[in-house]
């Protein structure tokens, strides 16, 4: 990587481990998260939720609740106008306002246990809770369906009588729970499989898992008599919240100002609205601010997990290990409304490999579960887990080293991905090489220990982004971005701004502006915020540098070719340099009023060229044959970051994604009873990894520059959750000889499998 990246910038801070500018607030308890905001006169809002997984709502009587002293507003479906069916892109997912309005507040039917049915605002939490008990809802309980395969059966209980499968010919005459069939095709798989010496076909099942952010959803709304609306909430995208709330409540977007609080984790789960429109509707009715915070149980029951799925994979290879044909069929749960991440699941399934003949089919299926939300590389971990398991099996059967087999088939620059594009420079081969070179790869293993490897892919996105830089009177810099900082964004952007303008890092103060302070920003998601945000900052800095050069020309009576911006100053060139001293950004700041007024720049971009990121994970684990418990012993991640703006926070993404993946592979799952009710809606029974469950996660930064980004950056946040599921399943096979095809590989399942094979006497 060259020393000088863009015009006149230095590389002092980019690529170093600076202290995050929001750090002091976050280690002292001063940082304000969603539930930490309060307003004078605020009421407390609470939601009444359906106890039934599927029921027609015959009537709702709120009169007794409204009569309770201290209750200031009650809302139900009657307070939300219906929305027409219209699909709009929502990050990596699609959404339909007709469904969104029904998800935030049930209309005709309650479609899952925990579905919001009414909400109240009262002068205290205790009164709000009492009021909920006074709301009389008459339900006609309907048969429910939880499992994705059962939901696809012709006689399954039907969630929506107007849902006709899209993507099949002829158009179905009857509605079903299958919302959509999607497909990608490349070459001729039938012909391809004929060339194969070995074909492995297997079916896999994964359980729905929750994003598991530690901070529950929270919102505080205040609506004035003139309709001006203020909202503070924890979200990955306050501009998106604004758009959704304005649409659902019939408000002008310009009248709604949304401030994103600090966000206590999201992982995709905070890209949609739940409480926000309810808080606004309650505040509008009560004429007082309304604060709403979900309990953990509500988070589990009523906010989006990701899909559980059934996946069938068929992969053919020649005897020397060349993949010749690949087929997969994916059935993804969408929850109560259509819109599972099956499309990206389909596109990612075989993306790590250069295969001539590929055919992938996906089904988006509704059932009586909470509507899924995005979860870190939505859809990809599921399909790639299945594919990576089969790749491992092929390696074993053909007696080829699993890294060599992947290397032989790896996607590289010029590979045409089955989902469409031709890859530019990508780093899969580099991550495989990096893993192979580790001491870990050759370390000895004992009995009941196993080692697994898997690779993973995610697209990454760019998108609409605005960020501004303002040169203050003393030469310090105010940086404003509009994408919530979920894991060190401010540090990365401040480093870029400091290098671009040649000012010290601690003279740049980055803040996340509200929707009224900075231009439109798409949300923090798709691994886009550092990628796109840094591009916008480069653009803003470019404007400032051009402006300062223009001012220097006026002050020095010079022509543009006689000045240049470098090292934080405008410098005179040639003969001029002998007479005139360079002027720094701070020097210009002092005379701004006399040289043309305030100095600043705004990057308004639609960021393109997000480079995909590939990663390869290596894991060692040990199985306890007495209990079926699996302990992860050692873990190494290698991933292509393009260029790590802040290496420590990039490593943090790798490590955090790996551990989320460990949870998905070994423990986490939504467990339903026959009654269609969630049985483990709490952190004790929904078992996420704790510190004593995992080892250190070694992180190897691979940097294959993304040529479309001024610093070479690729998004890094999502890819790390893709390989762990396959890597762990492959390590389980290595430890036990058993190919596990169902997640999570929890102790009861592992123990049963060991007993069935006569491997455990427990």
């Amino acid at each position: 990587m060259a020393e000088t990246m863009t015009n006149g910038s230095s590389q002092t801070y980019v690529g170093t481990r600076t202290i995050r500018p929001d750090g002091a607030d976050k280690v002292t308890g001063r940082a304000r998260f969603g539930a930490d905001f309060n307003l004078p006169g605020q009421l407390i809002g609470r939601v009444l939720r359906s106890p039934h997984p599927h029921a027609r709502i015959v009537s709702i009587d709120t009169s007794k609740a409204e009569a309770l002293p201290g209750v200031k507003a009650v809302i139900t479906r009657a307070d939300f106008a219906d929305q027409s069916s219209e699909f709009i892109p929502a990050g990596e997912m699609m959404m339909n306002y007709k469904d969104v309005v029904r998800n935030v507040m049930a209309r005709e039917k309650a479609l899952y246990e925990g579905h919001a049915v009414a909400a109240v605002a009262a002068t205290s939490a205790a009164i709000a809770r009492r009021a909920l008990k006074l709301i009389e809802v008459k339900y006609e309980v309907l048969p429910h369906v939880i499992d994705v395969v059962e939901a696809m059966q012709p006689n399954a209980p039907l969630l929506h009588d107007d849902l006709f499968t899209v993507g099949v010919e002829p158009k179905p005459e009857k509605p079903s729970n299958i919302a959509k069939r999607v497909e990608i095709k490349q070459g001729d798989v039938e012909a391809g499989f004929k060339k194969a010496d070995l074909v492995i076909e297997r079916e896999f099942k994964t359980a729905p898992v929750h994003q598991g952010y530690i901070e529950p959803h929270a919102a505080l709304a205040s609506v004035s008599e003139d309709g001006s609306t203020e909202l503070w909430c924890t979200t990955q995208g306050h501009f998106i919240v604004r758009a959704h709330c304005a649409r659902l409540l019939g408000l002008d977007i310009g009248k709604v100002r949304v401030t994103a609080s600090e966000i206590g984790g999201g992982f995709g789960g905070k890209t949609v609205v739940y409480l926000e429109p309810l808080a606004i509707a309650l505040s509008k009715k009560a004429k007082r601010p309304v604060k709403m915070v979900m309990s953990r149980e509500e988070v589990f029951k009523a906010s989006g997990p990701t899909s559980g799925a059934t996946v069938r994979v068929k992969l053919g290879a020649t005897k020397d290990g060349k993949f010749v044909a690949a087929f997969a069929e994916l059935k993804y749960q969408a929850g109560a409304f259509q819109g599972s991440p099956v499309q990206p699941g389909v596109m990612c399934a075989f993306a790590p490999y250069d295969i001539e003949h590929v055919h992938v089919i996906g089904y988006d299926v509704v059932s009586n579960r909470p509507k899924v939300a995005a979860y870190r590389a939505p859809g990809a971990p599921i399909s790639e887990y299945a594919v990576e398991s089969v790749v491992d099996e092929i390696a074993k059967k053909l007696e080829i080293d699993p890294i060599d087999l992947r290397m032989q088939n790896a996607a590289h620059e010029g590979t045409k991905a089955a989902y469409g594009p031709k890859f530019g420079p990508v780093g899969l081969e580099e991550t495989l090489n990096a893993i192979k070179k580790t001491e870990h790869w050759n370390a000895p293993l004992r009995k009941w220990q196993g080692r697994g490897v898997a690779s993973g892919f995610w697209f990454n996105i760019g998108g609409e982004t605005c960020a501004s830089l303002t040169v203050n009177e003393d030469g310090t810099i105010s940086l404003m971005a509009g994408t919530p900082d979920i894991g060190g964004l401010r540090a990365s952007l401040a480093a870029v701004a400091a290098d671009e303008l040649g000012v010290p890092y601690d003279k740049v103060r980055p803040i996340i502006g509200d929707t009224g302070s900075v231009g439109f920003n798409f949300l923090t998601g798709g691994s886009r915020s550092a990628f796109s945000g840094s591009m916008a900052i480069v653009e803003a800095a470019k404007q400032i540098k051009a402006e300062l050069c223009a001012r220097a020309c006026k002050l020095w009576e010079a022509t543009p070719d006689q000045v240049e911006f470098s090292g934080g100053s405008v410098r005179p060139l040639g003969a001029l340099a002998e007479k005139i001293k360079p002027m720094s950004v701070a020097d210009f700041a002092k005379v701004a009023g006399k040289t043309g007024g305030p100095i600043g720049g705004v990057g308004r971009i639609n960021a393109q060229g997000a480079g995909p990121s590939f990663g390869t994970h290596l894991v060692d684990l040990e199985v306890d044959p007495e209990t079926g418990r699996v302990t992860v012993l050692r873990y190494t991640v290698a991933q292509d970051a393009g260029r790590a703006l802040h290496p420590a926070y990039v490593e943090g993404q790798f490590q955090g994604g790996a551990v989320q993946g460990i949870g998905w592979a070994l423990n986490e799952e939504y467990i339903y009873g026959d009654d269609g009710k969630l049985q483990n809606a709490g952190f004790l029974d929904y078992r996420m990894p704790v510190a004593s469950d995992v080892p250190m996660i070694d992180a190897i930064l691979v940097e294959v520059a993304n040529p479309k980004h001024p610093y070479g950056v690729r998004g890094v946040g999502e890819t790390p959750i893709v390989p762990p599921l396959g890597a762990i399943a492959n390590a389980m096979e290595s430890a036990t000889g058993i190919r596990f095809t169902e997640l999570p590989m929890s102790p009861p399942k592992v123990l049963k499998a060991l007993k069935d094979k006569g491997l455990s006497r427990a």
Partner: protein, 158 residues
């Protein structure tokens, strides 16, 4: 029923407050005393985001009732720094990038401080088991565990 009148010490300051019987210490800290550094992640003692010290003992403040703390000494994240000087753990968490979103950070810091007061030279395993009551979903714990061990080493040197 009338509210309870409670007097206690919080971060060295005498405080008095009124609370309902069912209000937890966490509710009192956050809603009555406006000390919102302690977070509610679960309200069931499973996530540790509300960790505080009660008479020198590490507790989840969501599992303690406000009316139980009369005459007792409570230390929260807001009392961890001394004047303008951050506690060595706070400094090391920043240096090590041991936080991403930061919601669990106050709980981890309070719990880690309690550990180092008892065990100035913990092994990695001891750190991991001591912190097993604190959930973090962002970091995978790697940099948190390193930060605690590095702080312990620094503090041992004095």
């Amino acid at each position: 029923m009338a509210k309870h009148h409670i007097e206690a010490m919080v971060n060295g300051d005498a405080v008095e407050f009124l609370c309902e019987t069912e209000e937890t210490l966490l509710d009192v800290l956050r809603d009555t005393l406006h000390l919102t550094g302690s977070k509610e992640g679960c309200a069931s003692g499973d996530c540790g985001a509300c960790s505080v010290m009660l008479n020198g003992r590490l507790v989840c403040s969501c599992l303690v009732l406000g009316c139980e703390v009369g005459g007792q000494k409570i230390e929260t994240i807001e009392g961890m720094a001394t004047g303008e000087t951050l506690h060595p753990l706070q400094q090391q968490f920043l240096k090590s990038a041991a936080l991403q979103c930061g919601i669990c950070t106050p709980g981890f810091l309070v719990a880690s401080k309690a550990l180092l007061e008892r065990m100035p030279n913990p092994t990695e395993t001891e750190v991991r088991y001591w912190l097993a009551g604190n959930l973090c979903r962002c970091t995978g714990y790697d940099k948190i565990v390193s930060a605690v061990m590095d702080t312990a080493a620094t503090m041992r040197k004095g």
